[in-house]
Amino acid sequence: MLDLSVIVNNFTFLVVQGLLGLGGFAGGTLRLALPAIGLGFLLGIFIGLARLTRMAWIRVPATLYVEFFRGVPLVMVIFWMWFIMPQLLRLPIPEYGVALTAFVIFEAAYFGEIVRAGIQSVPRGQVEAATGLGLSGAQAMAYVVLPQALRNMVPSIVTQMIVLFKDTSLASIIGYVDLTKAAQIVNNREIRPFELYLFIAVVYWIFTYSMSRAARRLEQRVAQA
């Protein structure tokens, strides 16, 4: 029988520690996912723009970066950061720093491709009309191209955010106490895998479903404008 008392008894640990990351441990799914999404997207904008520049010394490294990180597994990047970064930097790096760095570096490649595709989806005539009116390249980008590009990007960005949110569960493999790891820890003590993994599935689902709902509403709003 389903015995939910294991959830109730460990609720603080699972939610406050595992999901939010507010406890004594340096963990938490949201504490990892939110900055990873923000920083990953920010770096992605720069990579997307770098992929489109005419300056080869910027474009070529950016292209290599994207092609490399899209071609290797995320778990491998996390292990890399875990084993190699402390050796290269000669200082110990906590799980949180390792996980965040790995996610930002990895996801920026995907966000960069979304930004590049979004910018390229804006017809050439838009830039010609803008520069023909005397706007500089940067002004044309800021007032004409990016607003249209961002609108086109919304569905892909949200999809990528959802993927990233779920992928944070991989941080548990280096001992980072996120929601998945918290459930694992409780399960090792209580041996209630069904209840525990069902519970965290529901929690993950509530977040991803709200994200896609919010995205749909956002799409409808920009479609009206």
Binding site: P123, G125, Q126, E128, A129, A130, T131, G132, L133, G134, L135, S136, Q139, Y143, V144, P147, Q148, R151, A225
Partner: protein
Amino acid sequence: MAEPAIAFRLVNKFFGRLHVLKDIDLTVAPGEVVVVCGPSGSGKSTLIRCVNALERVQSGEIVVLGESVTSAGANLTRLRTQVGMVFQSFNLFPHMTALQNIMLAPLKVRRLARAEVEKTARALLERVGIPDKADNYPANLSGGQQQRVAIARALAMHPKIMLFDEPTSALDPEMINEVLEVMTDLARDGMTMMVVTHEMGFARRVARRIVFMDGGVVVEEAAPEAFFASPTSDRARQFLSKILSH
């Protein structure tokens, strides 16, 4: 003779190995309306796109309003604020209303005060006959209305020269005249204009001169009456018989 508004001097332009403009020598006087026509691929669009440096040329010189466009240090921003351009596919900014489309460049390039810019923009919409469409987005305007907004947008920078690149080619037949009327008014007001078009009625009524191009070369230059009555080149004769036969 006064200094020409636009002067092409031995201009050559290549797209890769394709030689699209060959030794172009052409001047346009201030206040003159020149219609450029010719078969597709003859280089007529490329020709007028060189005037505001949307296309760069490989050799020769283009002087616009007394300043070289083709020299290395040319001030392109200044050039483009003095030369308005209207495109075949309108190229309105879809995320902005008609009014915002018109106001963007005066606000961001000229950095004029918003109230003044809005007043000018509304007056321009009045002038092109759609004052009630100020708050419409391009998607909610007909093709003819969009093109008139595009003309108003170009005029908002108070250009001295207007370039039209097949402004009516993408329009349904019943909307062509409303755009041509705006262009005719503009010509009557003394605007210097280069117009790439197949509207031979407009050319006959409004143009001071017809430039006929084929294969990247200016084949013939003549006043409209002379050009339509007795074209001197075979190629122009063939072209006219094709487009005027129906």
